[in-house]
């Protein structure tokens, strides 16, 4: 059974009081659950949150499903999100995504066999002046070439 850490429970409790309405705590709490559940949110996690927050499961589920930053299935420890929107595509973003997929032998959206990496193509990340770029977990990696991207990924991997 999934359960948040003591710290996580305290966090949710605080968020429930933080805003004008308790419902506003759902998004921050889902983030917390995702972090403590290895990067994704399972149905079981949603049921757990519903109990913890004393809010209907259906309401939490609806929010969970709507937003793309909540992962509905397991992701690698490094979630590599390559921007393939206009300016990035114009500067090699799609080739960059293909190159990384090939290097890790995964298709877009899949987890590598060692569980370390998921590569996905995403929409504009608001960093078009440094195209092509990608986001790895919370970090933006910018002005990339296929080579520099792999190099930086390797060094992030070694920090895992």
């Amino acid at each position: 059974m999934f359960e948040l850490s003591e710290e996580g429970k305290q966090f949710v409790k605080k968020e429930l009081e933080r805003y004008e309405d308790r419902y506003s705590a759902i998004i921050p709490s889902l983030y917390r659950v995702q972090k403590e559940n290895g990067g994704w949110v399972s149905d079981e996690c949603v049921a757990y949150l519903s109990q913890l927050m004393d809010l209907p499961e259906a309401d939490i589920y609806e929010v969970f499903k709507f937003y793309t930053m909540f992962n509905q299935k397991p992701v690698g420890q490094l979630h590599v999100q390559v921007c393939t929107n206009i300016s990035c595509s114009m500067n090699g973003g799609r080739e960059l995504a293909d190159h990384i997929c090939k290097a890790y032998n995964v298709k877009s959206g899949e987890v590598s066999s060692d569980g370390k990496v998921t590569v996905s193509r995403v929409e504009c990340l608001g960093s078009c002046d440094t195209a092509p770029m990608m986001q790895v977990n919370d970090r933006y990696l910018e002005n990339l070439t296929p080579e520099s991207a792999l190099e930086q990924l390797k060094s992030l991997e070694s920090e895992l």
Partner: protein, 426 residues
């Protein structure tokens, strides 16, 4: 020489400007002190007189919007729209990363003017650096007495908080943002009622873009007349443009509204050697595309771009040179809108799906000639009949790409490959 006119971005390159000490050293929070001594209505009048128009996309006059708030003592909220999802736009991120206090000062002044006790900065979930910067700056502002109870002895109380989005372009639409902040799916709501009358938790709510709220500080600092000296008669002030694509030096620049587009391109280092300009998307992916003839005439203000059938939008300027295939770019744009449609309205849900499918089939070399007109037809059915403007935002670029670059679409259908060397299938 073409130069920038820096009001909001004056201290962007100074790392000290980010923290409260450095910000204060450079004049920060002085304007707040002055504003708190002003009559609230006088601030609203000054913003009205400045001609400031919303910098988030729609360009609605800010002072007029504030004037829609009911004249009673009902609690009202101020929401700063920092969702910045319009492809090509990155100016708000720069501001939050480099000058968070400037945004906060502008927000407190605005909140005072509309007498709001609480504001939120709704930041897109991916913008970790901005969330961190704004949270830290808010904390500093509380400690220094610029937020909280009885700000600078004025009797005005104001609380501010950050809310993190979770990855949905539609939450940039003001009523979608309100739904999201309320802890629901970020689906837009039918207007009227407008948020100024019935918004967050049913209370009167003003939603303004990051750049709009920061500009308020400079309007109060310099006065409406001085602010109006920048820009044109109808498009007053300076504007932050996010310039990207095929320029040598993609970046955020601040220039007076009305600057010729070609000057803006030059300001960003011009095109790469040996390349020719083909097209420009002047206001984010929702803005109809300009061809070279349009570009030569285009001035970067609300009216001039509207005359050319396009719009200033969020000020995201995407420069496209002759190495690009327009079918390919439209396919990218259509994929985006199809992905981001929230699905509530049939014309939008179905229309974005169809457009995506048709344009992609052309881009795969499987298109038929009648598909080109079908794009325009589908787009027509998506306009003006939905809850929010996303449907139009998808339809407009589709129509404009086809009408301005029809030859490229026809070539692709006939030959099964791009007209552009190095393009798709070519």
């Amino acid at each position: 020489m073409i130069t920038e006119t820096k009001l909001l971005s004056e201290h962007y390159d100074n790392p000290e400007f980010k923290g409260i000490e450095g910000y204060k050293k450079l004049g920060g929070y002085k304007v707040l002190g002055d504003a708190l001594k002003m009559d609230k209505q006088k601030i609203i009048d000054e913003v009205k007189a400045s001609g400031l128009r919303g910098r988030g996309g729609a360009g609605f006059p800010t002072g007029v919007k504030w004037g829609f708030l009911p004249k009673n003592d009902e609690t009202r909220y101020l929401l700063c729209n920092a969702d910045e999802g319009e492809p090509g736009t990155f100016k708000d991120r720069k501001m939050m990363e480099r000058a968070p206090h400037q945004l906060i000062e502008g927000m407190i002044i605005s909140a005072f003017a509309i007498n709001s006790p609480k504001s939120y900065i709704y930041i897109r979930g991916e913008y970790d650096s901005c969330i961190e910067a704004c949270e830290k700056a808010i904390e500093e502002a509380y400690k220094a007495g610029y937020l909280g109870k009885n700000i600078l002895g004025s009797g005005f109380d104001h609380d501010m908080d950050v809310y993190r989005g979770a990855g949905a372009y539609i939450c940039g639409e003001e009523t979608g943002m309100i739904s999201s902040l309320e802890g629901k799916k970020g689906q837009p709501k039918l207007k009227p009622p407008f948020p100024a009358v019935q918004g967050y938790l049913g209370k009167p709510t003003i939603v303004n873009n990051v750049e709009t709220l920061a500009a308020v500080k400079y309007i109060i600092r310099d006065g409406a007349d001085a602010y109006r000296k920048h820009g044109t008669e109808k498009s007053a002030g300076t504007k932050l443009f996010s310039v990207s694509g095929n320029v040598q030096d993609p970046k955020t620049v601040e220039v007076p509204l009305g600057m010729p587009l070609m000057d803006l391109i030059e300001l960003c280092g011009g095109l790469k050697p040996g390349r020719k300009l083909k097209a420009v998307i002047p206001g984010g992916s929702s803005a109809p595309v300009l061809n070279v003839e349009d570009c030569a005439k285009a001035k970067m203000d609300y009216e001039s771009l509207a005359e050319l059938g396009s719009m200033l939008g969020s000020g995201a300027v995407i420069i496209i040179d002759d190495s690009n295939c327009m079918v390919d770019i439209l396919a990218t744009i259509m994929h985006f809108y199809h992905h981001e449609s929230c699905g509530q309205c049939t014309p939008c849900r179905e229309g974005t799906g169809w457009l995506n499918k048709i344009v992609h089939s052309i881009a795969k070399g499987d298109g038929r000639l009648q598909d080109i007109d079908l794009i325009t037809k589908v787009a027509e059915h998506m306009m003006g009949r939905t809850i929010c403007a996303l449907s139009d935002a998808a339809a407009l670029p589709a129509t404009s790409f086809v009408s301005k670059f029809r030859d490229e679409f026809e070539f692709f259908v006939r030959e099964g490959r791009s007209k552009v060397k190095g393009g798709l299938n070519a």
